[in-house]
Symmetry: C2
Subunit: 324 residues, 2 copies
C-alpha cells in the first residue's frame, strides 16, 4: 500500500519506520527542505534520531507533494501545528477527498487544534493518533499504544489496519476534541514535573503532583463533555505519565532548568533554541480554559512560574495546600 507522510521530523520518521515493517508498504515522506531531500538521495541521511541506522528500502523522501499523495491510500499529517494550515492549502487540489488523513500533530494554533484546522480546509475523513509513543521507541519497534480517534468508522478502521503490527496496541475513540486537549496538556504538566525534579524532589513528590495533574485534567475534560474513557485513554493518563516521567523531553528540561533557578537569560536561551511545545501553548491554553471557567490551579501556577518569573517553590505550595 502507498502511504504518504507529510513531515520529516523525528515523529514522522518514527511512524515511517513502524509502517516500513510491512514490506508491501511504500512510504513516501514529504519535506519542503530541498537540501534534505538531495542529501537523503546521496547519503541516506534522514534525521539525527536514526543516525547510524539503515533506512528501510520502502521509505523514500521527496519535495513533491504530488509524489507524496498520488495513489496514497492513507496520509499521515505530522508537521508542526504552525504549518498545518499552509499544508492543507497546498494539498487541497492534489489529495483525493476520500483518502483518510491521520493527524499526529499536537498543539493549538490560532485557537484551533490540528484536526479543526484540517477540517476547515479539507473534506477528507480525519483521524487523530495520540499516546505514549516517543519517536525513539517507535523507531526501535518497542511495544507502544495509541489512541486513534475519529468520527468516520470506515476511515478509522483503515488507519487502524495500516498501524496493525504485533508491537502496537490501538484503542479507538470518537472524542477528537478531548484527545486533542490531552495532547496539549500533557506537555504543560511535564513542565511542572521538571520544575519539581529541578527543585530536588523525587518520586514521592512526583506521585503527589501527578495525581493532582490527573484530577485537574479530569476537571478540564469534563468541561468539554469528554468522558472518563478519554481521560483514562492512552492519550490521556498514559501519555501524561510517560511525558511527565521522560527526563529527556524538552518540556521537562525547561521545567527542570526553572526549578534549579537557572538565570532567566539561560532559560530564555533554551526556549529560543528548542521547540518546547508546552511553553508554546501555555498562553493560549491558559486563555481558552479561563473562558471555560474551569479551575486549573496547577496550570495557573506553572504559567506564573514560567511566564511571570514567580518562585518555582509556588508549585510545591500548590500541591501541598490544605483544603479550605
Amino acid at each position: 500500500m502507498k502511504i504518504g507522510i507529510i513531515g520529516t521530523g523525528a515523529y514522522s520518521v518514527g511512524i515511517a519506520f513502524v509502517l516500513s515493517n510491512n514490506k508491501d508498504n511504500k512510504i513516501t515522506m514529504w519535506s519542503e527542505n530541498e537540501e534534505l531531500v538531495k542529501d537523503f538521495k546521496k547519503t541516506k541521511k534522514l534525521n539525527k534520531i536514526v543516525e547510524g541506522k539503515t533506512i528501510p528500502k520502502n521509505i523514500s523522501i521527496t519535495n513533491s507533494m504530488e509524489d507524496t499523495l498520488n495513489d496514497a491510500e492513507v496520509v499521515f499529517l505530522l508537521t508542526s501545528i504552525n504549518y498545518v494550515e499552509d499544508v492543507c492549502k497546498n494539498i487541497k487540489s492534489i489529495i483525493s477527498p476520500k483518502v483518510p488523513i491521520c493527524i499526529g500533530t499536537k498543539g493549538i494554533y490560532d485557537k484551533r487544534f490540528a484536526y479543526q484546522i484540517v477540517a476547515k480546509n479539507l473534506k477528507n475523513p480525519l483521524t487523530i493518533i495520540s499516546g505514549p509513543t516517543f519517536a525513539s521507541d517507535l523507531i526501535n519497534m518497542a511495544p507502544v499504544g495509541f489512541t486513534l480517534a475519529g468520527k468516520n468508522k470506515k476511515s478509522a478502521l483503515k488507519v487502524k489496519n495500516v498501524l496493525s503490527f504485533s508491537n502496537i496496541k490501538i484503542e479507538t475513540s470518537k472524542d477528537m476534541l478531548g484527545i486533542s486537549i490531552n495532547g496539549c496538556l500533557k506537555n504543560i504538566y511535564a513542565i511542572g514535573s521538571g520544575i519539581i525534579k529541578g527543585l530536588g524532589y523525587n518520586e514521592s513528590t512526583l506521585g503527589l503532583y501527578l495525581t493532582q495533574s490527573y484530577q485537574e485534567l479530569a476537571n478540564i475534560l469534563c468541561k468539554y463533555n469528554s468522558t472518563m474513557e478519554t481521560l483514562n485513554s492512552l492519550s490521556g493518563l498514559g501519555d501524561l505519565i510517560a511525558t511527565c516521567s521522560s527526563t529527556n523531553s524538552r518540556n521537562y528540561t525547561l521545567g527542570s532548568l526553572i526549578g534549579k533557578k537557572t538565570s532567566s537569560k539561560e532559560v530564555t536561551k533554551y526556549i529560543e533554541n528548542n521547540t518546547v511545545e508546552g511553553y508554546t501553548i501555555l498562553e493560549v491554553m491558559s486563555k481558552m480554559l479561563k473562558k471555560k471557567h474551569v479551575k486549573t490551579p496547577l496550570l495557573n501556577t506553572i504559567y506564573n512560574i514560567v511566564k511571570n518569573n514567580e518562585n518555582p517553590q509556588k508549585l510545591i505550595n500548590e500541591i501541598t495546600k490544605k483544603a479550605s
Copy 2:
C-alpha cells in the same frame, strides 16, 4: 504530645522524622531488638537510611511497650504485616482502648489486611495511611501526600492534626478496604514495571503498561465496592505511579532481574535476601481475586512469569494484545 511508633524500619524512621519537626512532640519508637536499642543509646545509630544524619532529640527508642504506649495520644503501627497480630496481643493489656492507632503496614497475612487483624484484636479507633511516600523522602521532608482512611471521624481528625506539616498533603477517605487493596497491588504492578524495563523498554511502553494497570486496578476496586475516589486517591493512582517508576524499589528490582532473564538461581537468591512485598503477597492476592471473579490479566501474567518461570515477553504480549 507523646506519640508511640511500633516499628523501627525505614518507614517508621521516616514517620518519626516527620513528627519530630514539631518540637513539642515526644516520639517513642518500639523495637523488639535489644541490641538496636543498646546501640542507639551509645551511638545514636538507628537505621541505615539515616546514616550520617543527626537523630532529632525528641525521638527515642525502647524495648519496652509500656514506655512506648504510656501517655501516647496517637500510636503508629508500622511493623511488617507478619508481626501485626503478635504486636496486637502484646499491647492489648497496655494500650488505652481510646487511643487512635494509625496503621502504615501494607500487605496481607492470613487473608487479612493489617487493619482487619488489628480490629479483630483491639477496640481502638483505627486509621490507615497510604500514599506515594518513600522513607527517604519523608526523612528529607520532601513535599508528599497521604490518603488517611478511617471510619471514626474524631480519631481520623486527631491523626490528621498530628501529621499536619506544611510539606504534607493529607486527603481523607472512609474506604479502609479499598485503600488496603491499593497498598498491595501497587507492589505487584511494580514487579511488572521492572520486567518491562528489564526487557529493555522505556517510557512509551511503561505508559502503555501503567494505563492498563490502572484500568485493572479500577476493575478490582469496583468488585470491592470502592469508588473512583479510592482509585484516584494518593494511595491509588498516586502510589501506583510512584512505586512503578521508582527504580530503587525491591519490587521493581525483582522484575528487572526477571526481565533481563537472570538465572532463576540468582532470582531466588534475591528473593531470599530481600523482603519483596509484591512477591510475598502475589499468591494470596491472586487467590483472593480469583474468588471474586474479577479479570486480572496483568496480575495473572506477572504471576506466571514470577512463579511459573514463564517468558517475561508474555507481559508484552498481554499489553499489546488485540481486542477480540
